[in-house]
Each structure stands twice: as structure tokens, then as C-alpha cells.
Point group: C2
Chain length 126, copies 2
DNA sequence: CGTCATTCAATGACAAGGAATATGATGTGG
DNA sequence: CCACATCATATTCCTTGTCATTGAATGACG
């Protein structure tokens, strides 16, 4: 019945929640306003930009983000519709896909990443 | 162009995201399974239980959670439909409401809180 | 090979949240 | 008192996420 211990845990958890939402919210709004792209879209874009070589992504993406497989699929839909990314079929396993940034995607990512990092720095302190 | 610094920030952020989602997901699934209540519902319940005296809640709740005002309103709807909480009109300002736990609400909260704290302890380490 | 289990991704149905707005109640200046 | 700004909450509409399922491709094994 360590109620004082429990209160500490709860406080710690609320503080995590607040800073998570504050940061995510700030980034999301900024990206939305300046680049017309949501946080999740940016994060996928960022992951694709990062692994600018290895093939058959989609699956791999799912492993590097807390998003669900179906959420990833839909985010990619939007990115594709926005002309930022393209789905390429994968020769050696035709179930898989791999993703590529379009020129527009590369350009947008470059700019958005600057903003993203800046907001992270600002919000994660240090 | 502190790209190595940037990578650190991004890694830090991903790690926060992962632990946030891992913890929130674990708690949410457990509460859902054992008490048929979501994480947000529990958190409101928890806040109401905490301030078991001061009146005209609703507004105050909004200030203690990252949820939107409309989200809070809907969570309270669900809690009320589930018979865990009741909205009481506030005599001195009829715009406001204050919330009370029902007996069922108090009972469920007591049990769920144990589970909640345990999962926090488990997930927030230490 | 032929089956059967497994894997990758997309989809549809549905729940939940956010923004903007509606609705009532209060306060306030003239 | 009356108009008008403001406040507390509810509600509508839209977007996004999840779960479960599907479809297609692949692998495993007798």
C-alpha cells in the first residue's frame, strides 16, 4: 500500500504524457502549417529518407515506428497521393513493396527536417 | 549543420515515442480486458477520484489532461453511460457541472488503480 | 508438384479525437 | 435594464487510427 510511491509514479507518468503531447502537438501543428503534412506523414518520410538504399521497405517501416501496419499503409497512401513518395514493386518478392522519395518528397523532407529538428531541440530541452 | 547532434535528438525522440506507446498500450489493453474501460476513461476517473471534494469539475479536468475539451466531454459521456460517474449541475454557476463517482465508479476505480499503478511501475522502470 | 501454413500489404467497418460551432448562462458598460 | 462580450459545455463534421479480414505470393514438406 505504498500510496506515496504510487503518487510519484502517477506524477511521473503525467509528466511524460504532457511533454509527449506538447512536443508532438507543436511539431504536428508546425509541419501542418508550413508544409501541409502531419507528424506521422513526416516520420514515415523521414524513415524512407534515412534508408535511401535497402529495398522492400513497407515491412521494415512497420518495425521502426509504433504505428500499426494498417496505419502505415494509409499514411503511405496519403504520401503517395501527395506525390512525395512512390510505391515500387519488389522483383524478388512480389508481396513486398519498396518506397522511394520523389523529387518533391526529397525537397519537402529536406526543409521539413530542419523544422522538425529545431522543434525537437526546443522541446526536448538540452 | 550539426547532423550528429540532430541524430541524437531524433533517436531520443523515437525512444520517447516508443516508451510512451508501449506503456500507454499496455495499460490500455489491460484495463480494457479486465475492467472494460479505456485508458482515457480511467485517467478521467482517476482525476475525479483525486479531487473528491472541490466542485464544478469539467473545466478543471481539461486543465489537468492533454485531452481536448471536446474529448473530455465525450469521455465523460461514456463514463456516465457506463454508470461510473454522474454529472451534477452546479448551483452557483449553471454553465458548469461537477462530477461525482457513483458507487460502481468508486469500486471500479479502486481495483483499476491497482492495476494501473502496477503497470506504471513495471513500464516506467524503477 | 500439391497442399497447407505463413507472410505482406490493402481494405472496410467502426471508434475516438480535434476543430469549429452551437447553446445557454454570466458578467459588464452604458 | 439592455446589448454585447465571454465563459462552460455539448455537438457536428471530418480525419485518422485500429481491428479483423482479404487477396495475393511464397515457403515447407510429403
Amino acid at each position: 500500500m505504498a500510496t506515496t510511491r504510487d503518487r510519484q509514479l502517477v506524477e511521473q507518468w503525467r509528466s511524460i504524457q504532457n511533454s509527449y503531447f506538447r512536443t508532438a502537438g507543436a511539431i504536428d501543428r508546425a509541419l501542418e502549417a508550413k508544409f501541409d503534412i502531419g507528424l506521422n506523414e513526416f516520420e514515415i518520410l523521414d524513415l524512407v529518407a534515412e534508408s535511401e538504399e535497402s529495398a522492400c521497405r513497407m515491412k521494415a517501416l512497420g518495425e521502426r515506428t509504433p504505428m500499426t501496419q494498417s496505419a502505415v499503409s494509409k499514411v503511405v497512401d496519403r504520401l503517395e497521393k501527395a506525390g512525395l513518395v512512390s510505391r515500387e514493386t519488389c522483383a524478388d518478392d512480389r508481396r513486398s513493396l519498396f518506397l522511394e522519395l520523389t523529387e518533391a518528397g526529397r525537397a519537402l523532407h529536406a526543409n521539413a527536417a530542419v523544422e522538425h529538428r529545431a522543434l525537437l531541440k526546443e522541446n526536448l530541452g538540452s
